[in-house]
């Protein structure tokens, strides 16, 4: 191509307006969430906001890996559990909170390297089965590990003010959302979506698929681990059957799939829908929320393959 043609081409903005809008909206919503206690919001509302942020952070972590690459993970519950145990064990050993959170994130990343390095070279269901196996293995292992408290679990020995976990989780959810948007917009995001579209064609243009998938899985695991760690600061007590419950993996997966997979705003919609649905069902069928979530997921997968958010956006565009 000639230099002249390159010079005539319009420069590409570094941050497109829709990404910029999402970043501003995320910061504004996070600020509102953090300000809620000062605005007099009740403890109940704060708890709903907290859990929405927790599921958003977890869903966004899943979205970064599975939404962008198409490799479905069932390990995000376990990665979150590793973060939770990591922070509690470190803080109980008198490590400062910052260093303990780093341990939590680092442990989750290490776990993702083990899962990813062994399964991401293979295509198809290998990764999904590896993550499912890992999820169950972690539950069985933590029940047996004495330093993890065995089946009785662990208690965080320090008493922390409630706002730390509340603000921490909102900030983490915001960072995860903005992080997703920036990754999606970046060359890395484009290349990963190319892998999702056609891995052979991606290889033919020089994309090292295994390496990129592993990088994304590590980023995703870091966020899941930190989400679990901050949640451990919120609950202050850990039980293996809860911290490593497959339910958490299902929620991490369902939130983006319902709201809008591979989009930055979809998991936010999915998290709000899930928390709202769960609260509504508390009154009529307290233990049925996962069943309802499963049914909702089924309906979305069958009739709205991109999720509710993108489907609604398409309908609105058509009606104009």
């Amino acid at each position: 191509m000639s230099e002249a043609t390159i010079e005539r081409a319009p420069p590409r903005p570094h941050l497109r307006s829709d990404t910029l809008g999402l970043v501003i909206a995320t910061i504004a919503l996070a600020a509102l969430g953090i300000a809620l206690p000062a605005l007099g919001a009740s403890g109940y509302i704060r708890t709903l906001v907290y859990y929405s942020a927790f599921y958003l952070a977890l869903g966004q972590a899943w979205n970064i890996m599975s939404g962008l690459t198409g490799y479905l993970s069932f390990a995000h519950g376990a990665l979150s559990g590793i973060g939770a145990y990591g922070v509690v064990i470190a803080m109980n050993a008198d490590w400062p909170m910052g260093a303990s959170l780093a341990v939590a994130g680092g442990a989750a990343v290490l776990a993702s390297l083990v899962i990813g390095a062994t399964s991401l070279r293979l295509r198809g269901a290998a990764f999904t089965f590896a993550t499912l196996f890992f999820q169950e293995l972690m539950l069985l292992a933590v029940r047996k590990l004495p330093f993890a408290g065995g089946p009785g679990g662990l208690v965080l020995e320090q008493i922390l003010p409630e706002w730390i976990a509340y603000v921490g989780m909102i900030l983490l959810a915001g960072v995860a959302t903005i992080g997703f948007a920036l990754i999606r917009r970046s060359r890395l995001g484009i290349r990963v979506l190319a892998i999702k579209g056609d891995e052979d064609a991606a290889a033919s243009i020089g994309i090292a698929a295994t390496r990129l998938k592993l990088i994304l899985f590590c980023v995703s695991a870091l966020l899941a681990g930190l989400a679990g760690a901050v949640h451990a600061l919120f609950t202050a007590s850990l039980y293996p059957d809860v911290a490593f419950s497959v339910d958490l993996s299902l929620i991490a997966l369902a939130v983006p799939l319902i709201g809008g997979v591979a989009t930055a705003s979809g998991p936010a919609l999915g998290a709000l829908l899930y928390v709202g649905l769960r609260e509504a069902l508390q009154l009529i069928a307290p233990s049925a929320h996962l069943t309802i979530l499963g049914l909702l997921l089924l309906v979305v997968v069958l009739y709205m393959r991109d999720g509710i958010g993108p489907t609604l956006a398409r309908l609105i565009r058509r009606s104009r």
Binding site: R187, D200, A201, S204, G206
Partner: protein
């Protein structure tokens, strides 16, 4: 002319079927090499062995004298071998521009986009840059695939049946684009449409049953009795 690519006694077997039997092939700088033969001749396997989609059971593949026999496809692309596919394989969820941005080696945001747009202009797709690749027609997708391969910055371009499914004018346009490219790189084109493709080649190789049947200029290939009898028939005679 300098050899860009050399395949030495390359062989590939799938179970009990020998697809390629010890083939030697040389591609020189600035030439357009046609690879012809009927279905099952082994030309697509040979093509995939050069691109790195398959690894050979025996033999060597050299790029500028460097042994790339065991290199995976993505590393060969980074070394300068780009390819298109017989059945177009665009990244349908990405825009036309993003299809190229995925392929361009990263240097810096605005310059990469400018390079991608310049490539799209060259294949006549600049106006569709922001559209989803899945919305393009087959002819446009073929051109997008050529542009995507060029975005890699190849020294060797492999085209797998680029004319398949194209109507007369679209096929002629694509061949003109291909011919214009060979000033800067070597091109290997696997093609079924011998009548259209052979005249634009500098050299041609005809394969049969996994081996090279004939090799030479288009004129030599046209006159080769074995080729005429077995593959080209009266069409090229």
């Amino acid at each position: 002319m300098t050899a860009i690519l050399e395949a030495r006694r390359v062989a590939k077997r799938f179970g009990g079927v020998v697809a390629v039997r010890g083939v030697d092939l040389t591609v020189r700088q600035g030439e357009l090499l046609g690879l012809f033969g009927p279905n099952g001749a082994g030309k697509t396997t040979m093509f995939n062995l050069i691109a790195g989609a398959f690894l050979p059971d025996a033999g060597q593949v050299l790029l500028h004298g460097r042994d790339i026999t065991r290199e995976p496809a993505w590393r060969r692309a980074r070394l300068g071998i780009a390819r298109s596919f017989q059945i177009v394989r665009p990244f349908r969820a990405l825009t036309v521009l993003e299809n190229l941005l995925a392929a361009i080696p990263a240097h810096g945001g605005a310059n990469d986009a400018a390079s991608a747009l310049a490539l799209l202009r060259r294949v006549g797709l600049e106006a569709r840059a922001r559209d989803a690749a899945g919305d393009l027609t087959l002819g446009m997708l073929k051109r997008l695939e050529v542009a995507r391969a060029l975005a890699v910055g190849p020294r060797l371009l492999l085209l797998d049946e680029p004319l398949a499914g194209l109507a007369g004018q679209e096929a002629a346009d694509l061949l003109r684009t291909v011919q214009a490219l060979k000033r800067r790189m070597a091109i290997v084109m696997v093609e079924h449409n011998v009548r259209l493709a052979l005249p634009v080649c500098d050299r041609a190789v005809v394969m049969d049953a996994g081996a090279v049947l004939a090799e030479g200029t288009p004129e030599q290939i046209r006159r080769d009795p074995a080729v005429i009898r077995a593959y080209l028939g009266s069409e090229a005679a």
